[in-house]
């Protein structure tokens, strides 16, 4: 099951130091292979926790930028720089959200100069800047949709020169809408069945459980 040994190699640089990597692997796995796993902060290693933020430059001169080390495959001549983003305190959501309340929680909302840096920085392809403009207009349902796959890596916040905090506002909107929704009830139950399901006899418990799976009742 291990990768074949004939995989071609490339040279990359991470934090200024060169290493050899196998074509097809990610920056993160290349670092692991040479014992440099702590060079880039890591969490899930699967593209959803946002820990391993980096900036990347390519040898062929095409635009580089921010990305996740666990998802970006290596390529010849690539230069990588760790770009960890600090976790900072957040503002609590409200249960009837409007733009003024969002502005109160995150006063830099209106400082967006439409430079698009946040959208370019987002490793999840979220239209971050457009969504900030939607926040200003109070189009919260669409904002919630935009931020569905946000991994809170913080890159949009880190690259913003005007201290706008898009991902924090995104989750503020999502949570506020969630709080405003109707919440679930208590579900149906048939407590008379517990006697059989919790019988002292393990065989009987299993048999009763099989019956209930079939019909919802004991046969």
């Amino acid at each position: 099951m291990s990768p074949s040994p004939t995989v071609p190699k490339v040279r990359i640089k991470v934090a200024g130091k060169e290493l050899e990597a196998r074509v097809g692997e990610t920056i993160l796995h290349a670092l692991w292979a040479v014992g440099r796993g702590l060079d880039i902060q890591t969490g899930c290693a699967g593209g959803v926790c946002g820990a391993c933020t980096v900036t990347v430059r390519f040898a062929d001169g095409r635009p580089g930028g921010t990305d996740l080390a666990c998802l970006r495959p290596v390529e010849e001549g690539m230069e990588v720089f760790p770009f960890p983003v600090d976790t900072v305190p957040t503002q609590p959501p409200v249960d009837r959200p409007d733009v003024d309340q969002l502005r109160q929680a995150y006063p830099t909302l209106d400082r967006c100069t439409k430079c698009t840096s946040c959208t370019i920085a987002c490793p999840m392809s979220i239209p971050v800047m457009d969504s900030v403009l939607r926040m200003q207009r109070g189009e919260f349902e669409q904002v919630a949709e935009d931020f569905t796959t946000c991994i809170h890596c913080g890159l949009c916040r880190a690259v913003c020169e005007d201290k706008v905090r898009p991902h924090h506002m995104g989750i503020w909107v999502r949570r506020s809408l969630g709080m405003a929704h109707e919440h679930p009830g208590s579900g149906e139950k048939d407590d008379a069945l517990w006697g059989a399901l919790l019988s002292d006899n393990p065989e009987e418990r299993l048999q009763r459980a099989r019956e209930i799976r079939g019909s919802g009742r004991i046969a």
Binding site: M1, P3, S4, G24, H29, W32, A33, G37, L38, T42, G43, C44, A45, G46, G47, V48, C49, A51, L71, P73, T87, V88, P89, T90, Q91, P92, P93, T148, T149, C150, H152, I171, R174, R175, S176, L177, G178, M179, H181, E182, H183, P184, S186, G187, E188, K189, D190, D191, L193, W194, L197, R205, L206, R208, A209, R210, I212, R213, G214, G216
Partner: protein
């Protein structure tokens, strides 16, 4: 995927004919025999542990038993003079730990949450498919129990399972009031999907990023509260008072490589699972830190462990591209109608069978020569993702599974048009630390919640019951701590010392210390900063009065 074009043509050729095809549920006999022959738990390699409270009685794979028999990384004679004194120390920053921390907020207790990585860098955030709660019409709490009990082969602890299912609706309500957004139907009701082995639709989801949604809501709530956060602090040992009560932990700080003793009145172990041990060379869907630390720490404190011979190999880990090997491809794609196909384009199992059965069926196909081999030498079967749009309309796959699409498109694979190749991946630690209905372990002062515990799921867990577990039992453990917080007692390493004594009489014990903290493949190792006095053996221990009680500015909050 030129290398697979022959097989892909067969998949496409059978697609239309398969649309309406119904496979019967697998019979109990067939399923038993499949598991016996092909499930990775049944390879017969287990052995008994040779040390500790369950010596000769607890069985598991040798790799796991070695971890339990290994020495601690804490140097001989290390004095656990507390640098931090707190009321509650939560170890683990995933869903269970953070849910507990939120319950303890505003209790007036000082709470520290220590985590190896950052808050939220955990298996919770990687969970995709959903969370179970019996909220549907025609469903019931008892049906939920029955499904989980049969799926767990009747090895579930009935009392724990009853609590899980009874508290399901309330746990989802709690998340909903915190602002978690679950998918809804047009009429505003929750959209419920089936999962493998559910007898009614019961799985709530946020697209295919349910764990991410739950974790980011919990994390956002935690970050606006007053819990003291100790990120990049791994627990490497538990402290006790010499009379059987757990009283703190020794943490290892990744950046300074120092050991930091913490004194606490209660410790909650919420350290998660162990997929990164990559048992039997399986790839894993787990995060970097899932190395079974909690099992090791609890066992040294003479807590019992359950079902360590049972692991969940999730049927659908990615097999291609190599960079995604082992990563989860959510079960809810099968719930939504996608078929599993062998190299010939044939279905071979009812896709909604229990997870262990589906995993065994995939392994059977591959081991009998009906799998597909990738250029890297991995094996797999097809998950026919393009079928989703055929069944539910164009754009359905992308709308419901944005995480999947995003991940594969980076590698020029479009699951809307091409099936994805999958093979079982080490996903979940079914067993773990024994707890009672309050989350108490065998030792006073020590609670446990979430994947680190055992008994609840028996020997096979159903989709959506783990996200529920962490919320129900994370909250429950915190409530129990509030009810029965022990008085402060001495912080010593006497359990460790006794363990070491017992170990010294054992031949052929492993030399590498545990907990390992990081996977073998990452080559990251616990190292101690030699120039720091506290890291040296006794004699060099700090002579100061010790017990500096204010935390050294943990994180960004004082």
């Amino acid at each position: 995927m030129e290398w697979a074009s022959d097989s892909l043509k067969k998949v496409e050729a059978t697609r239309e004919a398969r649309r309406e095809q119904k496979l019967p549920p697998i019979s109990e006999e067939a399923s038993d025999s499949l598991l016996k022959q092909f499930h990775p738990d049944q390879t017969g390699q287990e052995r008994a542990v040779r040390i500790g409270v369950q010596s000769g009685k607890l069985h598991g794979l040798p790799q796991l038993m070695e971890l339990l028999e290994a020495d601690s990384p804490v140097p001989q004679g290390f004095q656990p003079v507390p640098e931090i004194e707190t009321d509650v120390l939560i170890v683990g920053g995933g869903g269970a730990g953070v849910a507990a921390a939120l319950v303890l907020e505003n209790s007036g207790l000082k709470v520290h949450l220590a985590t190896k990585l950052r808050i939220g860098d955990a298996n919770t955030v990687m969970a995709e498919g959903g969370i179970q709660a019996a909220l549907g019409e025609g469903d019931s709490i008892q049906r939920h129990f029955a499904d989980a009990y049969v799926g767990g082969h009747g090895n579930n602890h009935p009392e724990l399972l009853k609590i899980l299912v009874e508290e399901g609706p309330d746990a989802v309500g709690w998340l909903s009031r915190l602002g978690a957004l679950f998918d809804r139907n047009e009429d505003g009701s929750f959209r419920l999907r089936p999962g493998g082995g559910t007898s009614a639709p019961r799985v709530l989801a946020c697209r295919d990023v349910t764990g991410l949604e739950i974790m980011r809501v919990l994390k956002d709530a935690l970050l606006s509260g007053n819990t003291h956060l100790l990120e990049h602090h791994s627990a490497v040992e538990l402290c006790d008072d010499g009379a059987g009560q757990v009283t703190g932990a020794v943490l290892w700080h990744t950046d300074s490589r120092r050991l930091i003793p913490v004194a606490a009145r209660a410790v909650l172990l919420a350290t998660g699972g162990s997929g990164q041990l990559r048992l039997q060379s399986f790839p894993t869907s787990n995060h970097l830190g899932a190395t079974g630390d909690g099992l090791v720490l609890a066992y040294r404190q003479r807590c019992r462990l359950l079902h360590l011979d049972s692991f969940q190999y999730h049927p659908s880990g990615a097999s291609f591209p190599e960079a995604l090997a082992g990563q989860l491809v959510t079960e809810s794609i099968r719930s939504t109608g996608a078929h599993l196909l062998n190299a010939q384009g044939e279905r071979f199992i009812n896709e909604m069978s229990f997870r262990d059965v589906v995993a065994a069926a995939i392994i059977r196909e591959v081991s009998e020569g009906r799998g597909v081999t990738t250029p890297s030498g991995r094996q797999g079967v097809w998950l026919d993702t393009p079928l989703i749009d055929r069944l539910h309309g164009k754009g359905s796959l992308a709308r419901q599974f944005p995480g999947l699409i995003h991940r594969f498109r980076r590698y020029q694979i479009d699951p809307e048009h091409h099936p994805v190749l999958v093979y079982p991946t080490l996903h979940y630690q079914n067993g773990g630390v024994a707890i009672d209905s309050e989350g108490k372990t065998d030792r006073p002062g020590l609670w446990a919640a979430g994947e680190v515990t055992g008994g609840l799921h028996g020997t096979n867990r159903l989709m959506g019951n783990s996200l529920l577990d962490i919320i129900v039992f994370g909250r429950r453990a915190a409530e129990s701590i509030l009810q029965s917080l022990p008085t402060r007692s001495a912080t010593t390493l006497s359990a460790l010392n006794r363990f070491r004594e017992e170990r010294s009489s054992l031949a052929g014990v492993p030399t590498e210390a545990s907990p390992r903290l990081f996977p073998e493949v990452s080559k990251i190792r616990l190292e101690l900063e030699p120039s720091v006095p506290g890291n040296s053996p006794v004699g060099d221990a700090p002579s100061s009065g010790g017990g500096g009680f204010e935390p050294p500015d943990p994180f960004f909050k004082g």
